[in-house]
């Protein structure tokens, strides 16, 4: 009996040794790609990226082209109503602009707004959080007080006030209002990341491996970049994965309220804003951008959930 179990143990041990070694990250990637929803999400995001990059080639018309012959409020072809036009697969909006082309061009706004502010937020938030968490002192105090204030502001309210205040200034007009939205999302978002990083660093810096590294003479800089940051990375990646759709939602909501991307540049939120007064007459002009937002948001959520489960199975809910 005893020998049998030892043999089994040996076999199990050998099996482990025989398996190809995988790093923690490879392990996480393996788990992520086994998650069907996450893979589907990745495919959607990748396609949306391709559409955004190639929009100039695949869009049949210019998104801002107002045709000379009035063809406004055409419905999509599949509705089979008499208000369709074979030239416009998804119909036209209230000015006669091709909805398909506008949807394709609008994906640019969403993709750019998803990733660029998130990069700013993380570059800023992680560096401030690392320094504040590691050194403490006045920087830490300042950060904590500042986050208290920003936390009392609901995220979207803050975003709305910043954007509404500056959208009529010259700065607010750069890149059809995109730059202002980038900056506003970054201002609102970096504090949360800084606070998260700080919390991670505070709990990590008392651990033995950090003490060991310090005792062999690692500089603060080396400690922060080689020991603290890599170990704090998993929750940060998950947060980043969720802050991308957060930013896309922020832009869509601003544009829906009429204070986002400056028309006639198309954005999904803006298309909903323009089409909504005529919703009953031409519902597809509103439903289609709404569907685009939903699909992209769901894709990002699936990837975010997948990443969270892959990087830290303990966080799985």
């Amino acid at each position: 009996m005893a020998t049998a179990s030892t043999t089994q143990d040996r076999a199990a041990e050998l099996n482990v040794l025989a398996r190809k070694q995988r790093s923690l990250w490879q392990d996480a990637a393996y788990r992520l790609f086994r998650n069907k929803a996450a893979v589907a999400g990745l495919i959607v995001i990748f396609s949306a990226f391709l559409i955004a990059i190639l929009s100039g080639f695949i869009a049949p018309y210019s998104p801002t082209l107002i045709p000379t012959s009035p063809a406004s409020q055409m419905e999509p072809l599949w509705t089979g109503s008499k208000y369709t036009d074979p030239r416009y697969l998804l119909g036209t909006d209230f000015l006669g602009r091709d909805i398909l082309s506008r949807l394709i061009y609008a994906s640019r706004v969403s993709m750019v707004v998803g990733f660029i502010p998130t990069s700013i937020v993380f570059a800023l938030g992680v560096s401030v959080g690392l320094t504040a968490g590691y050194f403490g002192g006045w920087l830490d105090q300042l950060l904590m007080r500042f986050t208290d204030i920003v936390y009392a502001f609901p995220d979207f309210l803050f975003l709305l006030i910043i954007v509404a205040s500056f959208r009529n200034s010259p700065f607010g007009k750069i890149m059809d209002g995109l730059l202002l939205i980038f900056v506003a999302i970054a201002i609102v978002g970096w504090v949360g990341v800084a606070r998260l990083t700080r919390g991670q660093v505070l709990s990590l810096k008392e651990r033995e491996f950090v003490e060991a590294a310090r005792s062999v003479g690692a500089t603060p800089r080396r400690l922060m970049t080689k020991h603290l940051l890599p170990n704090a990375l998993a929750p940060l990646i998950v947060t980043a994965a969720f802050s991308v759709p957060g930013a896309i939602l922020g832009e869509a909501t601003l544009s829906f309220l009429g204070v986002g991307i400056i028309p006639p540049t198309p954005s999904w939120g803006g298309m909903i804003n323009e089409g909504f007064p005529l919703f009953a007459a031409n519902p597809w002009a509103v439903l289609l951008p709404a569907m685009c937002i939903s699909v992209v948001m769901l894709a990002f959520t699936f990837v975010g959930d997948g990443l969270r489960d892959a990087l830290d199975p303990r966080m799985k809910t």
Binding site: D148, A152, F153, I161, A164, N168, T253, F279, A290, T317
Partner: protein
């Protein structure tokens, strides 16, 4: 709390003042004469230096005087007094609905983990937390108002008007709370004291209600505060969408019109409720879980 609100007021004031333009140039067809603008600026105290305006405003707020709306020519307190009951009603209805849906859903899906019910409620939770409220509202209007003609599209007043805004506002909070309830139930079910309770022969009902539920609801109670804060923020998008005459719609309109007194007062009111919601979390936590106090 007071310092936080003070800084919220300071930031809002600075941002609103940094905005180019003035509240009096919003009608491009009929630009008012310069002397009229000067007169109005004097009347609203907008001719003074910005810091003096801020000090004056804050000292008035301390006396609970919120000024006069530039756009509506009415005291801000009146406007908020009229809109607030509507917003509060919408918010409370949505919160109650969210709790009524989320708690049973979360509990049942945890008890029937990995069954169809569980997957269904997870699907609902994902949809509810992911799809933006105004997008959800579009689908709702298309199906229930345009298609089935069950409810009027926009407006407020009759119970029929309230159904869609309440349901959509509740959706996000319900999804979030259901997720938390399920997770915390699953956590509690696996605890040793539950195994003990079962092994000493307690009926399953008693185990679930007396042991699992009691402990599982503690984390849920603590997120009701943030969920309520989310409802407060969500309300102004829903109010704008459905033309609900609450403070949220007033707020969005006042921002584009640069109606400073309304912007300031509404922001402060929102911030007040959010700080209150977050504060109540700490209190509730201490009351529900005495271990927290011991740990401190």
């Amino acid at each position: 709390m007071i310092p936080t609100l003070f800084f919220v007021a300071l930031i809002t004031f600075a941002l609103a003042k940094a905005a180019p333009g003035s509240p009096f140039d919003k009608n491009p067809d009929k630009p008012p004469k310069q002397e009229t603008i000067d007169k109005w600026n004097r009347f609203y105290g907008l001719d003074k230096p910005v810091h003096e305006q801020f000090i004056l405003y804050m000292s008035n707020v301390a006396k609970l005087d919120f000024g006069t709306s530039i756009r509506r020519q009415r005291p801000v307190a009146d406007i908020l007094g009229q809109g607030f009951p509507v917003t509060a009603q919408l918010g409370i209805q949505a919160l109650l609905l969210a709790l009524a849906v989320a708690l049973p859903l979360g509990v049942i899906s945890a008890l029937r983990q990995n069954t169809l019910i569980d997957y269904g409620s997870l699907f609902f939770a994902t949809i509810g937390t992911t799809i933006p409220s105004f997008v959800m509202a579009i689908f709702f209007i298309y199906i229930f108002a345009l298609g089935l003609k069950l409810f009027p599209i926009t407006g407020w007043g009759t119970p029929q008007h309230m159904v869609m805004p309440t349901v959509i506002l509740a959706m996000g909070a319900a999804a979030f709370l259901a997720r938390i309830t399920r997770a915390s139930m699953l956590e509690a079910i696996r605890q040793d004291y539950v195994r003990t309770a079962r092994s000493k022969g307690l009926r399953e009902q008693v185990v679930i209600v007396g042991h699992v539920l009691k402990n599982a609801l503690i984390p849920v109670a603590t997120v009701v505060g943030p969920a309520a804060a989310g409802l407060i923020t969500g309300s102004f998008i829903i109010e704008t969408f459905f033309s609900v005459p609450g403070i949220g719609r007033e707020y969005v309109q006042s921002i584009t019109a640069l109606d400073y007194p309304v912007i300031m007062a509404t922001t402060l009111l929102y911030a007040f409720f959010i700080v209150l919601a977050n504060l109540s979390v700490d209190l509730v936590y201490g009351m529900l879980d005495p271990r927290i106090k011991v740990a401190k």
